[in-house]
C-alpha cells in the first residue's frame, strides 16, 4: 500500500473517459421522486394517482437498471485489473463517509425522539405555566409512552405499545447473531474457504429476512390489534419512522448481501480483493448498531 505514496513508483489512477451511467441515474432518480410526489399529492387530494404510478415505474426501472449496470461495470473494471491500490482506497473512503452520512440521517430522527421525550412531554404536561397547552388542552395530562394525545380527534392514541422483551428481543438476537455470521463469512474469504463463505453468508441473509418478517408481523399487530399507527400521535410517529427507516436500511443491506452471495457463487472475492463484500458487511454492522439504539431507546425505555 505504501509504495504508491513514494515518488519513485507510480501506478496510474484509472479515470474512465466518458460514462453514460450518471445521466441515466439522474433521469431515473428524478422520475422516481417525481412519480412518488404525484402519488402522494393525489392520495392526499383524493384523486387518481395513476400518472404518478406510471412515472414511478419508469423511474424505478431506469434507476434499477442503471445501478445494476454501474456495479457491474465497477466489478468488471476491477477484474480487468484497472484499479490500483490507491483507487481501491478511494472506494474504502467513499463507503466510510457514506455510512457517516447515514448515521447523521438517523441522528435527526433520534434527536426528534429525545427532544420530544425530554422536553415536549413535560411542557405539554405542566412544567412551567403549561403555556399554550394549558389554554388549548387544560384537561390533558401527559405520559410516556403517550397513549392519550392532546387532540384525540385528529390523533387517536394507541391502546398499548409493543412490549420490548418479546418480539423486539428476538429481533435483537437475530441481528446481533447476523453480525457475527457475516464476520465469519469474512474470515472464510480470508481463509479462501468458499464453502464456508457461502454457508455463513447464506445464514446471514436468512437471519436478515427473518428479522424483516418479524418486523412486518409486529407492524401488522401494532396496526390491527393495538391501534398503534403513524397517525396515533408522537409515540406512533417516532416509533414507525425510526423502526421503519431502520427496516428500509435492513432491506437494502439484505439486498447488498444477496448480491454478494451471488458473486460468491460466481467465484468472486479473494483474501486481498473483497472490498465489495466488506462494504456490504460494514453496512450490515451499521444497521445492527442502529437497531441496538432503537431497542434501548424506542422499545425498552419507551415502554
Amino acid at each position: 500500500m505504501s509504495d504508491t505514496n513514494s515518488a519513485t513508483h507510480y501506478e496510474p489512477y484509472y479515470v474512465p473517459h466518458n460514462s453514460r451511467l450518471p445521466i441515466f441515474a439522474s433521469i431515473g432518480i428524478f422520475l422516481t421522486v417525481f412519480g412518488i410526489g404525484h402519488i402522494l399529492n393525489a392520495m392526499t387530494a383524493g384523486t387518481s394517482g395513476s400518472l404518478g404510478v406510471t412515472i414511478l415505474l419508469i423511474g424505478g426501472l431506469v434507476m434499477g437498471f442503471t445501478l445494476f449496470s454501474w456495479f457491474a461495470v465497477v466489478i468488471r473494471e476491477n477484474h480487468e485489473k484497472l484499479y490500483s491500490d490507491q483507487m481501491n482506497r478511494s472506494y474504502v473512503w467513499g463507503m466510510s463517509w457514506f455510512i457517516f452520512s447515514e448515521v447523521m440521517f438517523f441522528a435527526a430522527f433520534f434527536g426528534a425522539l429525545f427532544y420530544v421525550r425530554v422536553f415536549v412531554v413535560d411542557w405539554l404536561g405542566g412544567v412551567g405555566d403549561r403555556g399554550p397547552s394549558g389554554m388549548l388542552w387544560p384537561e390533558y395530562s401527559p405520559e410516556w409512552p403517550m397513549l392519550n394525545t392532546p387532540d384525540e380527534a385528529r390523533f387517536p392514541g394507541p391502546e398499548s405499545t409493543i412490549p420490548p422483551f418479546q418480539l423486539p428481543l428476538l429481533n435483537t438476537i437475530l441481528l446481533v447473531t447476523s453480525s457475527f455470521t457475516v464476520t465469519f463469512a469474512h474470515h472464510a474469504i480470508k481463509e479462501a474457504n468458499r464453502k464456508k463463505l457461502i454457508g455463513w453468508l447464506g445464514l446471514t441473509i436468512a437471519l436478515g429476512l427473518i428479522f424483516l418478517f418479524v418486523q412486518a408481523y409486529e407492524y401488522h399487530h401494532a396496526y390491527v390489534d393495538l391501534g398503534l399507527t403513524l397517525g396515533s400521535g408522537i409515540y406512533g410517529t417516532t416509533f414507525f419512522m425510526l423502526t421503519g427507516f431502520h427496516g428500509a436500511h435492513v432491506t437494502l443491506g439484505t439486498i447488498m448481501l444477496i448480491v454478494m452471495f451471488g458473486r460468491a457463487l460466481k467465484g468472486h472475492f479473494s483474501g486481498d480483493d473483497c472490498f465489495g463484500f466488506e462494504a456490504a458487511a460494514w453496512y450490515w454492522h451499521f444497521v445492527d448498531v442502529v437497531w441496538l439504539g432503537l431497542f434501548v431507546f424506542v422499545y425498552v425505555l419507551g415502554s
Binding site: F30, L40, W93, M104, A107, A108
Partner: protein, 532 residues
C-alpha cells in the same frame, strides 16, 4: 447487460469529445467544474430576477406590481435558489476545477459519481421552478420553511419542493464525498496536510460539514412529508409533537449550512490576498485551526436563530455565549488577511479588489451578526430587515464576491486568456456600490422596525426602501457586464502566461495556461512551491 449503456472504457490520455454529449457524459473534473459554474450563474440570474421582483414591489409602499401570495413565493424561491442553486454549486464548481490541480491529482477520486452529482441538480431545480406553474403556486413559506406554515398551510407543490431538497441533498453528499476522498487519498507525494493550499483545507472542512448536515436536512423535510401526507405528529402539538422541534432540526442543519457557504470563500481570499500583496499568507497554521474551530462551533450554536420562539433561559444564555465565541476564530482570520497585506507590495487587480471588499464587507456582516447574537437585542431585531441586511452582507459581498474574485483570479488559467482589466474593475466598482446601496439602508429600516418578508410597509420606511431598490437594480444589471467579460475572455484576449500573476504560488500555476484537459496524470515531483 451492462454493455448496453456503458461501452467506453478506454484509457484517459486524450482530449475532450466534440458536441453536446461531451458535457452530458464527461467524467473530467474540469468539464464538470465548468458545468457547475455555468449552472450556478444561470441560477444566480434566475434568483436575481426574483430579487428584483421583490425590490420593485418594495420600491414604494402599498401594493403595485404583485399580489402578496406571489411576493411570498418570490422571497421563498429567491432564497432557495440562491443558497442551493447559486452559491453552493459555484463553490463545488471551484472545488472541481481547483482541488485536483492544487494537490497534484489526476482527477477527482470518483469521476463517474462526480458527473452524477452535477446532473441531478438541473432536474432538481427544474422540479422546484416548475412549482411556480402548479396549482396553488410555488412554496410560499420562506426558504426556512417553518412548520406548521409549510405543513398544515403550504401549497400542494410543497411535496415537490421536499423531493427537490432530497435531490439537492443527494447531490451535495456525493459531491462532498468526492472532495474529501480526493483530498485524503489523491494528494501528490510530499503534499502533507499542512502543506495544502488553504482553499483545499477549507473545502475539506466544508465537505465534512456537508456530509454531516445534509442528511439532517433530508430528515427534517421527510418529517414534513410524513406530517403532510401520513398524519404523523412531528410538528403538531395536538399529537404530542412540537412546531419548535422543526426549528431545532432545521437549524441544526441551517447553521453549519451558512458556514458551508463561507468557508470556501475564506479559502479563495486566502489564496488571492498573498498573491497581490506579494507575501506569504500570514499565519497559515492559525488559519487552518481557525477554520476547524469555526466548523466545530457551527454545530453547537443553532438555537441563536430561535431566541424569540420560547426556549428556556439557560438555553438562551448558552447559545448566546457560544455564538459570540465564533468571533474569536473569525477575528483570527480577518487579522491574518490584514497582516498579510501589511507592508506588502500591493497591486489592485480585479480579484484583489473583490477580496479586499470581501474582508471589509464580510466583517461588517460579522459585526451585525454579533449584535444579533445578544439575546435581549435580538428580541428587537428578530425578523426585521436588520437580519436581512446582516445575512446579505455575509452572503453577497461575502460569498458571492469571493466567487467573482475566484473567477477573475483563475479565469486566465482556465481559458488561457487574460480578462480585460478595465472592464473587470468597472464591474467591481458597480457591484461594490450597488451592493452597499442595496443592503446598508436595510440596517436602518430594520432597526426602525420594518419586518422582513412583507410586501407592504409603513410610510416612514419609504425613502430607504427606494434607495435600496435602486441599488438592487444597479447590482443586478452589473452582473450582465460580468457575463460579457467572461464570455469575451473565453473567446479571446491577451494570452496568459503559465504563472499568470507574478506573485502566484501553488501547483496550479506550474502547469500551462489554459490548463490541459488532463493534468498530473503522473504526480508532480517538486512540491517546494506548494505551500499556500
Amino acid at each position: 447487460m451492462s454493455a448496453v449503456i456503458e461501452e467506453h472504457h478506454d484509457d484517459h490520455h486524450h482530449g475532450p469529445d466534440k458536441g453536446i454529449m461531451r458535457w452530458v457524459l464527461t467524467t473530467n473534473h474540469k468539464d464538470i467544474g465548468t458545468l457547475y459554474l455555468w449552472f450556478s450563474f444561470i441560477m444566480f440570474l434566475t434568483g436575481g430576477v426574483m430579487a428584483l421582483v421583490i425590490r420593485a414591489e418594495l420600491f414604494q409602499p402599498g401594493l403595485q406590481l404583485v399580489q402578496p401570495e406571489f411576493f411570498n413565493q418570490m422571497t421563498t424561491m429567491h432564497g432557495l435558489i440562491m443558497v442551493f442553486g447559486a452559491v453552493m454549486p459555484a463553490f463545488v464548481g471551484l472545488a472541481n476545477w481547483l482541488v485536483p490541480m492544487m494537490i497534484g491529482a489526476p482527477d477527482m477520486a470518483l469521476p463517474r459519481m462526480n458527473n452524477f452529482s452535477f446532473w441531478i441538480l438541473p432536474f432538481a431545480f427544474a422540479m422546484l421552478l416548475s412549482s411556480l406553474l402548479m396549482e396553488g403556486g410555488a412554496p410560499n413559506f420562506g426558504w426556512t420553511f417553518y412548520a406548521p406554515l409549510s405543513t398544515d398551510y403550504g401549497p400542494p407543490s410543497t411535496t415537490f419542493f421536499i423531493f427537490g431538497v432530497h435531490l439537492m441533498g443527494i447531490s451535495s453528499i456525493m459531491g462532498s464525498i468526492n472532495v474529501i476522498v480526493t483530498i485524503l487519498n489523491l494528494r501528490a507525494p510530499g503534499m502533507t496536510l499542512m502543506k495544502m493550499p488553504l482553499f483545499v483545507w477549507t473545502w475539506l472542512i466544508t465537505a465534512y460539514l456537508l456530509i454531516a448536515v445534509m442528511p439532517v436536512l433530508a430528515g427534517v423535510v421527510t418529517m414534513m412529508l410524513m406530517d403532510i401526507h401520513f398524519n404523523t405528529a412531528f410538528f403538531n402539538a395536538g399529537g404530542g409533537g412540537d412546531p419548535v422541534l422543526f426549528q431545532h432540526v432545521f437549524w441544526f442543519f441551517g447553521h453549519p449550512e451558512v458556514y458551508i457557504m463561507i468557508l470556501p470563500a475564506f479559502g479563495v481570499v486566502s489564496a488571492i490576498i498573498p498573491t497581490f500583496a506579494r507575501k506569504r499568507l500570514f499565519g497559515y497554521d492559525s488559519m487552518v485551526y481557525a477554520t476547524a474551530s469555526i466548523a466545530f462551533l457551527s454545530f453547537i450554536v443553532w438555537a441563536h436563530h430561535m431566541f424569540t420562539v420560547g426556549i428556556p433561559i439557560a438555553g438562551e444564555l448558552y447559545f448566546m455565549y457560544a455564538t459570540m465565541l465564533i468571533a474569536v476564530p473569525t477575528g483570527v482570520k480577518v487579522f491574518n488577511w490584514v497582516a498579510t497585506m501589511w507592508q506588502g507590495s500591493m497591486t489592485f487587480e480585479t480579484p484583489m479588489l473583490f477580496s479586499i471588499a470581501f474582508v471589509i464587507l464580510f466583517t461588517i456582516g460579522g459585526f451585525s451578526g454579533l449584535m444579533l447574537a445578544i439575546v435581549p437585542a435580538d428580541f428587537q431585531y428578530h425578523d426585521t430587515y436588520f437580519v436581512v441586511a446582516h445575512f446579505h452582507y455575509v452572503l453577497v459581498p461575502g460569498s458571492v464576491f469571493s466567487i467573482m474574485a475566484a473567477v477573475y483570479y483563475w479565469l486566465p488559467k482556465w481559458t488561457g486568456n487574460m480578462y480585460n482589466e478595465t472592464l473587470g474593475k468597472t464591474h467591481f466598482w458597480l457591484s461594490f456600490i450597488g451592493v452597499n446601496i442595496t443592503f446598508f439602508p436595510q440596517h436602518f429600516t430594520g432597526l426602525a422596525g420594518m419586518p422582513r418578508r412583507i410586501p407592504d410597509y409603513a410610510l416612514q420606511f419609504a425613502d430607504y426602501n427606494m434607495i435600496s431598490s435602486c441599488g438592487a437594480f444597479l447590482f443586478g444589471f452589473s452582473q450582465l457586464l460580468f457575463l460579457f467579460i467572461v464570455i469575451r475572455t473565453i473567446k479571446g484576449g491577451k494570452k496568459a502566461t503559465d504563472q499568470v500573476w507574478e506573485g502566484a504560488h501553488g501547483l496550479e500555476w506550474t502547469i500551462p495556461s489554459p490548463a490541459p484537459y488532463h493534468t498530473f496524470s503522473t504526480p508532480p515531483k517538486d512540491l517546494s512551491e506548494a505551500h499556500g
